[in-house]
Symmetry: C4
């Protein structure tokens, strides 16, 4: 497989439980509370990923543009997004990602509000290609 | 995609491991132990979601009615449900959600019974549309 | 939906990461380290579930028989299985569940080896019905 | 089912969020921070699994070869891989696993950088067989 990496995954993914814990404990930036989307682009072509943030009580924010080169991983903290806006901390949201080539998305949160950090992770929801 | 959001997800979802930890530590309400369903309605139409709670030794409770507007996220603590009943703390349960339009559901628990909080999360089980 | 619950899920499920942490801290039995399978049988008919435990270096153990009544949830600690054997603590394993009616399975571990408990959870892997 | 175990799972799996926490607290090796792939080979035939590691800014590393006998579980710490290289700690990566027979893969991380350990787990992403 090392000569021709498969193009695998889906072009559309959803993370329903988005939240950036508003406080942190421990050394920055490693132990700073964060919410992340971890993306694999296993194919040869670069991926242009549009990320939209949905809120409880206002219009979606986006698209944020993420570039993931072919055969590369990209882990993106939602805290780190700056353009076209900043995702507020301590607010419920959901994420929709749309890529021009298939990718795989996993969602992970590190919450260090209390003395020891807590972690959670899940594969995101891949929207079937046929829909 | 900002002009015509896709209608994505499934209309029926299951969370098999439901449990509200019966104690909490840390400031309320953020660090109160809770069990949540996080819902994205990415489509334009509002969603009417019926939520049923299944128990070990008695008939299911529900439907609880959740309204999620189009293009909106809704994170619902099971602790916060009041009508047609209250889900007891410290009791095993499972959840079935049925929506009139496709949604995406993620399950998350924050457990602050001990000194530092613990987190867990998983995409819920999407029942295939063809069944 | 309250009159005719849908029969939803798969008849075969896999949990690849099984492990019972060998120590615990905090009050028993709630904070005892455990590994659990959480099952929903949303249909009307009772489910007879066979659970097999696969190990690193010896033959599988099972079947353990679990009965889940129709319209009921059942959360089973692997620690609590007794017949036809006991699953050792501190040993890697995987689980295969096979049911005579569709069910949904979620895997959760509580690890209280250190001062504060840690939690992890994931939907199990549903084997497609057509295979 | 004990006489003819089903061959279940997929031959290709992705873990998008790979990371080995660079510090640990608590007794080794159990509480050493680690990132693991947990594999079930429920079929009768042995599995030859190739594992590739994708990085943010350099070419993929691999294949690492894992042998999982038929009817056996194998939990592999990424920390423990040695040939053809070592996966650095504190660096973002993703994993692609390809097996010659169907397997099931779950991803789990134990993070003991702070006083109490944190856990996260998710089913990996199974690439559909038809693609």
């Amino acid at each position: 497989m090392s000569d021709s990496w498969p193009i695998i995954g889906s072009t559309t993914w959803v993370v329903a439980d988005g939240y950036i814990p508003p406080e942190s404990s421990g050394p920055e930036p490693d132990m700073t509370s964060h919410d992340s989307v971890c993306i694999l682009n296993a194919g040869a072509d670069d991926a242009a990923v549009e990320l939209f943030v949905f809120f409880t009580d206002r219009e979606p924010l986006g698209p944020f543009l993420l570039r993931v080169a072919g055969r590369r991983a990209h882990h993106q903290r939602i805290n780190g997004l700056r353009e076209p806006g900043v995702v507020p901390h301590g607010v419920d949201y959901s994420l929709l990602l749309h890529s021009d080539v298939p990718i795989v998305v996993q969602h992970t949160r590190l919450d260090s509000r209390q003395a020891a950090n807590a972690l959670m992770s899940t594969i995101a929801y891949p929207v079937p290609a046929s829909r």
